[in-house]
């Protein structure tokens, strides 16, 4: 088996096992750690498809930002060795039913569809191409979502500070 296929199966084994462990473990800090493993494996997958900028953003924002934020909030709101109660049986049955049913439906749809790649030649994804498109104004230009998301991030920052502020 070629080495990149082996790498892909290793990464997807990490993703599959750690995502199941995230939703079924009884200790909250271990759930955060398994989420970190899933996010790092996803970044590894982005490195495999040669999207290095996307992988870097994933590592910095998700693994280094959101997971740290989640661990902070765990330490602020509950005891660190807090163990969950088991969910009641009807909720567990409904959750597993929805999960497995949806996964079966998606797998059948994926296997039946005929994916046809386009015939155009591939472009090289380097920082020059990403920068020109991110701030471009013509076709395939993304300057409008870029400005809008900066306003969104400002609003989220102000909102989070006001909501979590202590006192009246």
């Amino acid at each position: 088996m070629a080495l990149n296929v082996l790498m892909f199966y290793l990464l997807s084994a990490v993703i599959v096992i750690c995502s199941v462990l995230t939703i079924t473990t009884t200790r909250i800090l271990r759930a955060a750690f398994y989420l970190l493993c899933v996010l790092v494996a996803t970044a590894g997958f982005y490195f495999m498809v040669d999207y290095q900028f996307m992988a870097g953003v994933q590592l910095v924002l998700y693994a280094g930002g959101i997971v740290v934020l989640i661990i902070f909030s765990i330490l602020l709101t509950s005891h660190i060795s807090h163990k969950f109660a088991k969910p009641e049986a009807i909720r567990l049955a409904m959750g597993i039913l929805v999960g497995l049913g949806g996964f079966a439906l998606s797998t059948i749809a994926i296997l039946k569809y005929a994916f046809t790649p386009t015939a155009n030649p591939a472009i090289k994804v380097d920082m020059q191409a990403i920068g020109l498109q991110l701030l471009g104004t013509g076709k395939n230009g993304y300057v409008l979502p870029f400005e809008v998301i900066s306003i969104l991030l400002l609003a989220a920052m102000i909102g989070a500070i006001i909501i979590a502020k202590k006192g009246k």
């Binding site: 892909f8 939703i23 997958f45 498809v49 909030s73 996964f103 386009t118 991030l153």
Partner: protein, 105 residues
Amino acid sequence: MLEGIPITHVLIVSAFMFFAGVCGFIIRRNMITILMSIELILNAVNINLVVFNKYLFPDQLQGHFFALFVVGIAAAEASVAIALIINIYRRLSSISVDKVNEMKY
């Protein structure tokens, strides 16, 4: 780096991650683990977008940019959600979703 990995394998892995997130969202009673399940769902969607861009449309970058903006919005949404969770914890001393059942009058 992609020879030998058909697109359906990657899509099945991301579908599994998506439905693991949906299942965790339904099962869990703690607000922070519900937030973690939402992050799993968003990551699965990101893998889908990147894979469709790389395999089916390698001459464009639309999936790449869509995934980039999804990561940015997920960061903003996670920070506001955690601010709300901290505020709820100050009032109710609990972060179980069963306890949040009254509207303030």
